[in-house]
Every structure is written in structure tokens, then in C-alpha cells.
């Protein structure tokens, strides 16, 4: 996410390295690079200009500091500016009312229906709401079916009426249905429409008026170009939306829209879509995103993600086994599955400071653990609990059973022993400190802030 912009900033700041002070001349050079980087990332032309002007003013005003390098100072100023540009504090979704009503809006293909499913899933699983999805896209072929399929996948009820062609009526009926059936939240999916299509824009304004939603969301594709601003403006003028959803952020490098939209329509970005799976939804944190852009990594997100999938009870049991040297293949398998649950390995690595760039060209397969799992599941329960038993004869059998070869089985055995050693080491706080020290000394480890 945003790797490209980060790279470009890094390059831009390199120009500053070796200069002791920020002067009009060296700052101008850097800012030209910054501006080009922003434009390449589809940041609106005017926003980019304003951004570089502000950064310049602030930089020139602070050139007396001698303790930090100009590059670091510029990074800091750009970071502060980015955070401000992207919206300051995070704002939660408003679900007041009984039921709380969320209205989706946006252009064709921005990802409204997919996001409707994701939001429903999020509110159901994380906020414990009883959710009803409403299919109001009466135009695109099979749009209603699409929402039904998602609802089925997620075990969330979907309201639709294929006989009715008026979205206003469908939405109103759905709210009545929700009230009498005890739903807390209603999410209304609508057809994609162009901002210049007056008839369609009037229609969504009428839907909004009829159902009076507590939250109106504008869904926008994060790959959108310069026109994002005009579209956001037009939708805002017509339906005065409350928040923005930025989709397809699992694509690459861009996201200029994120930097611009807030400044132009003065509405917060509330969610981001980061994948095709139904749980690939994130709350938008401006500060974290700025960290990310500037290559500081997204440590907070990583920690939260880990916490979410971390089972304290199991961890304690594991701790006990490690200290007694009883760590076996069952535990190893459980560990693998735990990591897998945490999602795509690359996404995870990208959140670690300094790793974003290194991981750019590396592709880790989602099924990287498939072979390992196959080998372990080809062991008998007795073997899994007693790894010491596994001799050459057994290895051959395991290799045949898992469709691998003996080399791979040996490799896994070695990995297992290494993991076991490492875990034992980590269970001792003293060793842990030692390891941290070693990591710090690693070449290109932590970014020098």
C-alpha cells in the first residue's frame, strides 16, 4: 500500500542529505520532487500545490534546528502536513436510530455492493448488530443476486423486491420490514451512477430524503484519477454524505484520492477496503496512513491484528509446554494455522517498519504453508506428539503420504527444531533482550528517526 509514494519521498529527501541547513534553493529542489510524487500518485493538482507551499513555509521557518538533519526535518513536516490533510482525528460510523440506517452511494464499479457485504459482516461480528442488507440497485444485471449471494455467505438477511422498480419504495419497505423484525442496522446498497447524470442523482437524493439515514457513505475507488475531486464534490452537493469509503487499497502504490478528498469536501474517510475477502475491511486512521506513506510502517495495525487472533488460553498452555521442552508437531501446526489466520503474510510484513520497501518485489504465496501442513498431517498422532520417533523409514512414509519428498520432510524437521529453540530462548526475558539488541544491529533494520 502506497509503497511507490514512500519510495519517491525517500528519493526526494535524499536530495537533501548532505546539506546542513534548509535553504530556499535545496528546499525548492526537494519540493519539486515531492510535488511530482504527489501528482504521480493522483493527488489533485491544486492540493499538491497547496501542500508543497505549506511545507515550504514551515520548512523555511524552522531552518535553525541543528540537531536534526534537513531530511529528517522535512520528513517530519511532510508527515504533519499529510496527517492534517487526511483528516486529523478518526470519526466513527453513526448508527443512531432504531434501526440505524446506512446509505451507500458512488460511481459504477467503485465496489459498493462488495463493501455493503463487508460492512454488514463488520457490524455483525465486531459490533454484535442484527443487520439487514437492502438491494436497491434495480439497474445493473444481477446486482440484486450479487447481494443475495453475499448475504448467504455471511448469514446476513437481505431484503429485495424484484417486482418493484422504484428504489425509493424498496428502501422504505425495507425499513418497515427491519422495524417489525427487530433489525438494528439497515444497509442500503444503491446503483452506481455518474455525477453528471441528473436523473440518477435526483433519484439517490430522493432515497436519502425518504429514509433519512444516520450515515451516508460515498464509496470511491482508490485508483481514481484527478476527477475524484469533481465526483466527490458533486455527490457531496447532492446528498451531503457523512463519510468516504476508499476501496481496492490492496492494489498498489496509489491513493492520491485519500490525500485529496478530505480537503476538498471536508468529509472524513471512514473505512478502507483491502481485499476480496469479506473481512478485508479496515477503519481509516489518517495518522497511520501518513506513517505508512513516509515509510514508518503501520505498527499499530499489526499489533491490533495480532491481538485479534491471539488466544490467551492457548498461549499460556504453549508457554508451559515450551518451558518443559514438550513443544511438539501439534503445537507447530497450531502455530502455522495461527499465522495463517492473521492473513496474507505479505500484508503483515508490509506493516513492519522498513519492511514495506523490501517486500515490494517479493511475493509470498497464500498457500506457502500448504506443504508444511501436508507433511505434518501425514504423521501419525503418536509421531506428532513424539517427534523424536521419526526415523528414516517413517520419514519416507510421511513423504509419500504428503506427496512431497524426503528432503522436504527433513527441511520441515529442521524448521521445527529451530522454532523450538527460538521459542525456548524467547520464553526467557533475558534472552529476549539479547535478541532485540541483535535485531537493532541488523543492517537496514529500523529506519533512523
Amino acid at each position: 500500500m502506497f509503497e511507490n509514494l514512500t519510495d519517491k519521498f525517500e528519493r526526494a529527501f535524499k536530495v537533501l542529505k548532505g546539506h546542513g541547513q534548509i535553504s530556499e534553493i535545496n528546499v525548492a529542489e526537494t519540493l519539486k520532487e515531492v510535488r511530482k510524487a504527489l501528482l504521480d500518485a493522483d493527488v489533485n493538482f491544486k492540493t499538491a500545490k497547496e501542500f508543497t507551499n505549506t511545507v515550504k513555509e514551515k520548512a523555511l521557518g524552522r531552518d535553525v534546528l541543528t540537531t536534526v538533519s534537513p531530511g529528517q526535518l522535512m520528513t517530519k513536516i511532510c508527515h504533519e502536513e499529510l496527517v492534517e490533510l487526511m483528516g486529523g482525528n478518526e470519526v466513527e460510523i453513526n448508527l443512531k436510530g432504531n434501526p440505524g440506517i446506512v446509505l451507500m452511494s458512488g460511481l459504477q464499479g467503485s465496489g459498493k455492493t462488495t463493501f455493503t457485504g463487508k460492512l454488514g459482516n463488520y457490524l455483525k461480528t465486531k459490533k454484535g448488530k442484527k443487520v439487514l442488507l437492502v438491494a436497491c440497485d434495480v439497474y445493473r444485471p444481477a446486482a440484486i443476486d450479487q447481494l443475495h449471494v453475499l448475504g448467504e455467505q455471511l448469514s446476513i438477511d437481505v431484503y429485495s423486491n424484484k417486482e418493484e422498480k422504484n428504489p425509493v419504495k424498496i428502501a422504505q419497505d425495507a425499513i418497515v420490514h427491519a422495524r417489525s423484525n427487530g433489525f438494528n442496522v439497515v444497509i442500503v446498497d444503491t446503483a452506481g451512477r455518474l455525477a453528471i447524470d441528473e436523473q440518477m442523482m435526483d433519484e439517490i437524493a430522493r432515497v436519502k430524503e425518504a429514509i433519512n439515514p444516520s450515515e451516508t457513505l460515498f464509496v470511491v475507488d482508490s485508483m481514481t484519477g484527478q476527477d475524484a475531486v469533481n465526483t466527490a464534490k458533486a455527490f457531496n452537493e447532492k446528498i451531503n454524505f457523512d463519510g468516504v469509503v476508499l476501496t481496492k487499497l490492496d492494489g498498489d502504490t496509489r491513493g492520491g484520492a485519500a490525500l485529496t478528498i478530505k480537503t476538498v469536501v471536508d468529509k472524513p474517510i471512514k473505512f478502507v477496503g483491502t481485499g476480496e475477502k469479506m473481512d478485508a475491511l479496515d477503519v481509516f486512521y489518517p495518522k497511520r496512513m501518513a506513517d505508512r506513506i513516509l515509510g514508518m510502517g503501520d505498527v499499530v495495525s499489526l499489533v491490533e491484528l495480532a491481538q485479534e487472533h491471539y488466544n490467551e488460553e492457548e498461549a499460556r498452555k504453549l508457554q508451559k509446554k515450551i518451558s518443559k521442552d514438550q513443544f511438539d508437531f501439534n503445537d507447530f501446526l497450531a502455530q502455522l494455522q495461527q499465522v495463517k489466520k492473521m492473513g496474507n503474510v505479505k500484508d503483515l510484513m508490509g506493516m513492519i517498519p522498513g519492511m514495506g520497501k523490501a517486500m515490494k518485489d517479493v511475493e509470498i504465496k497464500d498457500d506457502a504453508f500448504k506443504h508444511l501442513e501436508a507433511i505434518i498431517t501425514s504423521m501419525t498422532p503418536h509421531e506428532r506428539a513424539n517427534p523424536g520417533l521419526i526415523n528414516v523409514q517413517r520419514k519416507n512414509r510421511i513423504a509419500a503420504g504428503s506427496g512431497t519428498n524426503i528432503q522436504e520432510v527433513n527441511k520441515l524437521m529442521k524448521q521445527f527444531e529451530d522454532t523450538k529453540k527460538m521459542m525456548k530462548m524467547m520464553s526467557n526475558p533475558k534472552n529476549m533482550m539479547q535478541m532485540m539488541k541483535q535485531m537493532k544491529n541488523m543492517p537496514g533494520g529500523m529506519p533512523g528517526m
Partner: protein
């Protein structure tokens, strides 16, 4: 005008209408640039740069156009602002012209030893692949071609249903195995069925995929290999669909899809909505892949073969 080729007056009007928004903003902006000016100076060029970049032409191509105009200014000593329009039009047409265009005559199809012409349609999520296929099928049918559709987007919820509705609307047969089926297997079936029916053209829909997902990109290679087994040389056309409102990422999409599979044609959609269309200029300039189709509206007829002269003409008439 000779270069309008097969374009009928009606088509030209459609295109004009579709691009009206682009034209208006382009010209109102240029008009604003020129207020109180009699000749092209650095301020005019700065403003021109802003217009081009704000139209998604892209930094590289914009600089190229500006440099060319600068060169002309210094060569001809003075360039009057009244000439700027013409010069701009020439320069942009030249950028488009430099690209190796396919010489297409409407929706005629090349012959492949009695086998149908095979088109595989690819792109990221939400660019309008399925809609483009529906419109394409309609155009081919109108040109008296026998069309078969293959529903190889078996991933996105209800994608197969969406294509089935299009096949009914257009009145062409569809080969599908429902959701969750192996896309390569659907493509295989579609080609075999088309061959047996003596069809002229097969259009294969694929699931939207972001170009940085290596596994999904590799899947395209597999679908292609399977098709080759049924009809040698298939797919003859791999059409990458780009959303006209996408910014600079469109270039990255074109690059990555080209690396994964042999893209040999582009379709740019949703050109009626963006106030730009400038992305077409940038892509034509930087990609060696010709833009073949453009989508300029929601109607079933709103898909046209891209004609560079026509396009520039619509921008600058």
C-alpha cells in the same frame, strides 16, 4: 472528411455527446488561460501544464506536449494564442498517431482457418468488463457475426448471472458452469462449443483481479494455455479493460497485465462520465498497445471502435 472512415454521422454525434463534458471543461479552461494574452508565454505554458495534468494525461506525457510546444514557440519565434488550439490539436494527434494502430473496419473479424476468433477480456475489479462484453456481443451480432460468450468469472458473486442476463438481452448463446467452477475449464468448454457451432467469435469473461496479485495473474496464463489446446493461436485478442476515470494507476495496470499475458488491445470505459478522457492520450503515448474500443455511455450501443482522428476531432472541433 475522408478519415471518418466507416463512422456514420450518427456515430459521430454519439461520440460528440459522450465527450461533451470533456470538451467543455477543456475549452473553458483553455479560454481562461488565454484571457488578456496575445501570445504564448511561460505563464500560458504553466497553465496548460495544469490543464493537461488535471485531465489525467499524466506528468510524462504532459511534459512531452509542453516541450513540443515550447520548441515550436522558439522555432516560430512567436506563437499567437489564437494558434494555440490548432497547435495543441496537432501535437496531441501526433502523439496518438505515433502509436501503431490496428487498422480496423468496424466489427469485422479476422479468419483463423475456419476457427472462431477468440477474445479474452481481462482487467482489475469494477472497470466494466462484463458490461463491455455485453456491448461487444451486441455490436458483433449487429454485424452478422455468430457470437458465443464464456462465463469464466466464476469468482465474484453473481457474475455468471450478470453475463447470462446480457446473453439473453443480446440474444447470443452462453457457456457457463456456474459459480466456483474452474475458469480454465469454462473457457475450454466455451471454445469447444463455439467450434462445434461454427461460431465467428467467442468472448471469454474473466474475474476482476488487481494486477499486484501474482497468483491471480498467473491464473490468466493457465486459462490462455487451455484455450490454445482447443484452437491453435487462441486467444487471438486479449483485451485489457481500463476504467477511464482511473488515474496514473492505469499505466501500472497495463504494464502488469502485459507482463502476465499478451495484452494486444485496450478498451477504455466510462468515458462519458469523467470530465477528462485525457488518460487515453497518455496511454496511447506510453503503451505500445493500441486502444481499440471506448465505452461512452450506459446504453447497449454505447461502445465504439476507437478512432484517433475522430477522438481528437471530437476534442477540438
Amino acid at each position: 472528411m475522408a478519415f471518418f472512415g466507416w463512422f456514420s454521422k450518427e456515430k459521430k454525434e454519439d461520440l460528440d455527446k459522450g465527450l461533451e463534458k470533456t470538451k467543455q471543461s477543456f475549452f473553458s479552461k483553455i479560454a481562461r488561460v488565454l484571457v488578456g494574452k496575445s501570445k504564448v508565454d511561460s505563464e500560458v505554458l504553466d497553465n496548460l501544464e495544469e490543464i493537461l495534468i488535471s485531465s489525467d494525461v499524466g506528468v510524462e506525457t504532459t511534459l512531452k506536449i509542453i516541450e513540443r510546444i515550447e520548441a515550436r514557440v522558439s522555432r516560430d519565434k512567436v506563437l499567437g494564442t489564437d494558434e494555440l488550439n490548432n497547435v495543441l490539436r496537432e501535437e496531441i494527434a501526433a502523439l496518438l498517431e505515433e502509436n501503431n494502430a490496428l487498422n480496423l473496419n468496424g466489427f469485422d473479424l479476422p479468419k483463423h482457418d475456419g476457427n472462431p476468433h477468440v477474445i479474452m477480456v481481462v482487467g482489475v475489479n469494477g472497470v466494466g468488463k462484463t458490461t463491455t462484453i455485453g456491448k461487444l456481443a451486441h455490436q458483433f451480432k449487429k454485424a452478422n457475426q455468430k457470437v458465443v460468450l464464456g462465463a469464466a468469472d466464476t469468482f465474484r458473486a453473481a457474475a455468471v448471472d450478470q453475463l447470462i442476463i446480457w446473453s439473453e438481452r443480446v440474444g447470443v448463446p452462453i457457456v457457463q458452469q456456474g459459480m466456483g467452477a474452474d475458469p480454465a475449464s469454462v473457457a475450454f468448454d466455451a471454445l469447444q462449443s463455439a467450434k462445434a457451432q461454427n461460431a465467428d467469435v467467442v468472448i471469454i469473461d474473466t474475474a476482476g483481479r488487481l494486477h499486484n496479485k501474482i497468483n491471480l495473474m498467473n491464473e490468466l496464463g493457465k486459462i490462455k494455455r487451455v484455450m490454445e489446446k482447443v484452437i491453435p493461436g487462441a486467444p487471438h485478442e486479449i483485451l485489457l479493460v481500463l476504467d477511464g476515470s482511473t488515474g496514473q494507476n492505469a499505466f501500472e495496470q497495463a504494464k502488469q497485465f502485459s507482463l502476465a499475458t499478451d495484452i494486444n488491445a485496450l478498451a477504455i470505459t466510462k468515458l462519458d462520465g469523467t470530465a477528462k478522457g485525457g488518460v487515453v492520450i497518455g496511454i496511447s503515448d506510453q503503451m505500445k498497445i493500441p486502444v481499440k474500443y471506448i465505452g461512452i455511455g450506459e446504453g447497449i450501443d454505447d461502445l465504439q471502435i476507437f478512432d484517433k482522428n475522430q477522438f481528437v476531432d471530437s476534442l477540438f472541433s
